[in-house]
């Protein structure tokens, strides 16, 4: 069984392991098969901007470079916030206790989900039935999820269905909505002028 995480709702704490819900294993998956005129399977490659050099998938690498395009050893780099201050490392969710904050259904709608995990209570002191009680009254919890120690954790929402508890991780987006703060301009009915001066004789042009 996977290593458990300790969660704290503010009143009670409980341990649970998490298992990633793989979409392919739930719904199946589709592969695209590409063949040439002879029915032979094709590979994918890339054509460079010189128009003649072909490279295969996996033939490129990402390098960190400085302003002069000289490669920089990743071990020598340091993380800073955008204002230049040293970034603080956020510990992994597996280290210490993860504090759950009360959340709202809106948080769920604002979350751009990248992964879904299901809580697993096998061989743990607390049962799923006990923990499901923390979600009675359609409660949601928010927290910062960090699989590994990192400088920027993922936003996460924990919610329960009738029989299971899930964690949705991703990033919380904020939206700016337009609203009618000013009174709409009233538009009069289009005037139906019958003034003969307004009528142009196109035949004169």
């Amino acid at each position: 069984m996977a290593k458990p995480i300790t969660f704290n709702t503010g009143e009670k704490s409980f341990q649970a392991a998490i298992n990633k819900v793989d979409r392919d294993k739930v719904y199946g998956y589709i592969e695209e098969s590409i063949t040439d005129a002879n029915g032979e399977i094709c590979l994918t490659g890339n054509l460079l901007d010189d128009g003649s050099t072909i490279i295969l998938s996996g033939s490129t690498a990402l390098k960190t470079v400085d302003e002069n395009n000289n490669e920089v050893d990743k071990k020598s780099l340091k993380a800073v916030y955008m204002d230049g201050k040293d970034a603080i490392l956020i510990p992994s969710s597996y280290e210490g206790e993860v504090k759950l904050e009360a959340a709202h259904a809106d948080d769920l709608y604002n979350l751009e989900v990248t992964a879904v995990y299901q809580l697993d209570f096998e061989n743990l002191s607390v049962s799923k039935t006990d923990v499901l009680k923390y979600f009675e009254g359609e409660k949601y919890y928010r927290f910062v999820f960090n699989y590994r120690a990192d400088y920027e954790g993922a936003d996460a929402v924990m919610l329960a269905t009738e029989n299971d508890i899930f964690i949705l991780t991703g990033r919380m987006l904020s939206f700016e909505y337009l609203e009618n703060k000013t009174k709409p301009i009233s538009i009069d009915e289009e005037s139906t002028s019958t003034n003969e001066d307004d009528n142009m004789d196109f035949g004169m042009l």
């Binding site: 392919d24 294993k25 739930v26 719904y27 199946g28 998956y29 589709i30 592969e31 695209e32 098969s33 590409i34 063949t35 040439d36 005129a37 029915g39 032979e40 399977i41 094709c42 590979l43 994918t44 490659g45 890339n46 054509l47 460079l48 901007d49 050099t53 072909i54 490279i55 295969l56 996996g58 033939s59 490129t60 690498a61 990402l62 390098k63 960190t64 470079v65 400085d66 302003e67 395009n69 920089v72 020598s76 780099l77 340091k78 993380a79 800073v80 916030y81 955008m82 230049g84 970034a87 259904a105 809106d106 709608y109 751009e112 359609e138 400088y151 920027e152 990033r171 987006l173 939206f175």
Partner: protein, 146 residues
């Protein structure tokens, strides 16, 4: 480039409006020890001819490939390896690593257990957001909790 969607309300009033994804700026960046900015650059490791597949086509077996690598560095193109890459174009290539002009596509659908379910022609999804008929709301509202 802006993307548009042709939207209509339940009264049939429509408008073409711009829509875009929401970007969230990173909170942290990586800098050199003296605080200078860095960026990530995509570089070329090797051309198709220098890949395992390319060397197998040229030298036919592992022994000859090993010999070519030891003698002539056949797995590296000294002119190209390490070159910075900007835009590349995806192409399909045949077993001889040559571009293919005429291709056939099909989809193979697998069950959750990995067994093959069916083979089918690629389903084409027709764009419906900027067509003559706008995307129309039916006016129904749902409780968020649903």
């Amino acid at each position: 480039m802006s993307r548009y969607i042709n939207l209509a309300d339940e009264k049939g009033r429509n408008a073409e409006v711009i829509f875009s994804g929401i970007t969230k700026k990173p909170l942290v960046k990586m800098v050199t020890p003296d605080g200078k900015d860095t960026h990530t650059q995509r570089v070329l490791k090797g051309k198709a001819e220098n890949s395992c597949e390319g060397l197998m086509l040229q030298f036919k077996d592992d022994e000859h490939i090993a010999e070519a690598i030891i003698k002539n560095d056949a797995d590296i193109d000294l002119e190209m390896t390490g070159r910075f890459l900007e835009e590349t174009n995806k192409i399909y290539i045949d077993k001889h690593l040559k571009p293919v002009n005429k291709i056939s596509k099909k989809e193979i659908v697998y069950n959750p257990d990995g067994t093959q379910k069916e083979e089918r022609a690629v389903k084409e999804t027709i764009a419906n957001i900027l067509s003559e008929n706008p995307v129309k709301s039916n006016g129904k509202l749902f409780a968020k909790k649903r």
